[in-house]
Amino acid sequence: MTQLLNNEAHQLKVLKTLYLIRDLEEEIAKRYPEGKMRCPTHLSIGQEGVPSALAPLLFSYDLAVSTHRAHAHYLAKGGCPKAMIAEIYGKATGCSGGRGGSMHLIDESVGFKGSTAIVGNTIPIGVGLALSQQIKSEQGISVVFVGDGALEEGVFYESANFAALKKLPVLFVCENNLYSVYSPLKNRQPEGRKLYKMVEAIGIKSTHADGNNVVECYEILQEKINLIRAGSGPQFIEFDTYRWREHCGPNYDNDLGYRTAQEFDNWKVREPIARYENWLLENTLFTQNHFSQIRGQVTGLVQESFEFAESSPFPDVSTVNDYIYR
């Protein structure tokens, strides 16, 4: 019962989110060498498709948790871009007051409950959020963003089993970008393994999609989220996608030789944003003019976010003791 991406507001939201993630992160990459963003930073450039498709499908009462590579998820969930950039700059106005940095994002006001830096760390936490929603009979669902590497941690199986057992309203969004740092999947999974098939065997309904085909992502996500909202238990979706830049940091690292130029080029052709624009041009009333107008707005927001971060103060050293306990 796939539902088409025929809602104009949703089409627009997806487009804006794609632009915002891409342009904000390109600006991070550009400015990172200035040495003012002094924390490990994992960019999602190339992987904007899945979070952007998800953006119009979640409400602020839905909850989400994420990983070290969380910028896109935070932004798609509606997290404040200014507070995110300020956080990466270590400023007092950052979403974690500078305590967390790029890997520790939070925006409680939109249900983004936190991203953390240890692989697998937020998987059970997301399941716990779903448990609370079930027990309190809340209307929301919980989204757990994971990478392919996180599925190798024992805690994933333990959490997935519990989610299946209790039929919890949780959506596992797995962005399979083929690598964990520089380690390809073939170093980490037996030949022929399909991640989503393995998860299915745990008792979670699982599917697979092209994560760089935004329309396909939207339609699958819409269908599965509706099922979760209707009370049918957890869902797992594995999306194929690809990170363009280095695992951590602003540069390209294809020169290191852990992946081939050909592989990279093949994925660049499947670029999520241009593909989506083409789809809009062919199937909707959107025109190139709309694109440049929307992109212009996003550029403004990006510039504003960096100005905000740059001009914000560092947290006062005397506050370092705050928040150890409540």
Binding site: G90, G101, M103, I118, S180, V320
Partner: protein, 352 residues
């Protein structure tokens, strides 16, 4: 014997290479051991030279620790490596409930010769979960040995010994030390369980560990200009501690300052202060003291970490205060490091 100048990362690499050449039971694995960056260079060439015995692993720290324990029980000598200590926290069950106790709880019938290499650090936005100095946790567990070398030579010798040690050894490398250059002396005697007297002095004993030894050396030099003669000991092994060397020094100087890269409460420094108070009380001229990290998670922000760490200057001022009371704030200005506080200073040849 032969002398060669290497960085600490290279020294670790040589120790691993020689161990694997010499002993076919040594295996080496961990996330990224064969990737292009080779764990900061420490595992360079290993997968080429020993393709069967060196391998990358899935992201599953707890299971792979257990796998290493199993392999060790049947005659292998695994060396597992983690790019941050924090990642290894997932493996506490296998380490604490199995590796550390196997020899004891089965009445000495079998043992677990495994080495776990862990990187600790500070600064540059590593933040709350990528910089933790939790050596005291491991020191608290009976059955584990915990090693924290400061220079390439000690790292080389102690890693080779750790690999041949019949017990589980936690081998802790500070990221600010990987670039440290030094001579490898093949005949030298740095060994697990032995602290090293780096500088003789009569006024106060300073016990340092890992990166703080570098800061303590600078502090001692500045203090000597103010006629304070420090006796400096590099602890090197935080479990088991070389009490003899410590007692002997404190009985001579009558004063003690212990430096610890970890948080103060429950620290190794606290343990040393306690033991010295018990055993050397009659010799003490002043209350033994310690400098450790505050009991605060390490924040990421450049702004918040400005006064978070301590270094040579704070050490010198502390010692000066313990001996001569009033410290003029300009006295140790030479120890101020130029540039950013969150990277090693100009005196220091180290990457992040």
């Amino acid at each position: 014997m032969s002398c060669k100048e290497l960085t600490m990362a290279q020294a670790v690499n040589v120790a691993l290479t020689e161990s694997m050449e010499m002993d076919e039971s040594v295996i080496c694995y961990g996330l990224g051991v064969d990737d292009p960056l080779r764990i900061f260079g420490t595992t360079a060439n290993l997968s080429e030279n020993f393709p069967q015995r060196v391998f990358d692993m899935p992201t599953c720290e707890n299971a792979m620790t257990g796998v290493g324990i199993g392999a060790a029980l049947n005659g292998l000598k695994p060396v597992m490596v983690h790019q941050r200590l924090d990642f290894f926290l997932l493996a506490m069950d296998q380490l604490v409930n199995a590796a550390a106790k196997w020899h004891y709880m089965f009445n000495g019938q079998s043992n677990v010769p495994i080495v776990i290499r862990l990187m600790i650090g500070r600064g540059w936005g590593q933040g709350p979960t990528h910089s933790q100095n939790l050596h005291a946790w491991f020191a608290h567990i009976p059955g584990l040995k915990v090693v924290m070398p400061t220079n390439p030579n000690d790292a080389y010798h102690m890693l080779k010994q750790a690999i041949q040690d019949p017990n589980p050894v936690i081998f802790i490398e500070h990221r600010w030390l990987h670039g440290q250059v030094g001579l490898i002396e093949k005949g030298s005697h740095s060994s697990i369980g032995k602290a090293k007297l780096l500088k003789k002095g009569d006024d106060i004993t300073i016990i340092a560990m890992s990166y703080l030894t570098v800061e303590a050396i600078r502090a001692s030099e500045a203090l000597s200009k103010n006629s304070v003669n420090v006796e400096l000991i590099d602890l090197m092994t935080v479990k088991p501690i070389d009490w003899e060397t410590i007692y002997e020094s404190v009985e001579k100087t009558g004063r003690l300052l212990v430096l610890d890269t970890g948080a103060e409460t429950g620290s190794v420094a606290g343990e040393i202060v306690a033991k010295v108070s018990e055993k050397c009380f009659a010799h003490l001229k002043a209350a033994p003291s310690r400098l450790a990290m505050p009991d605060i998670p390490e924040p990421t922000s450049y702004g918040l970490t400005k006064q978070f760490y301590f270094g040579a200057k704070e050490i010198a001022e502390k010692v000066h205060g313990m001996l001569l009371e009033n410290v003029d704030s300009s006295l140790y200005r030479e120890l101020d490091t130029e540039g950013h506080h969150d990277i090693p200073g100009s005196h220091f040849k180290g990457p992040f």
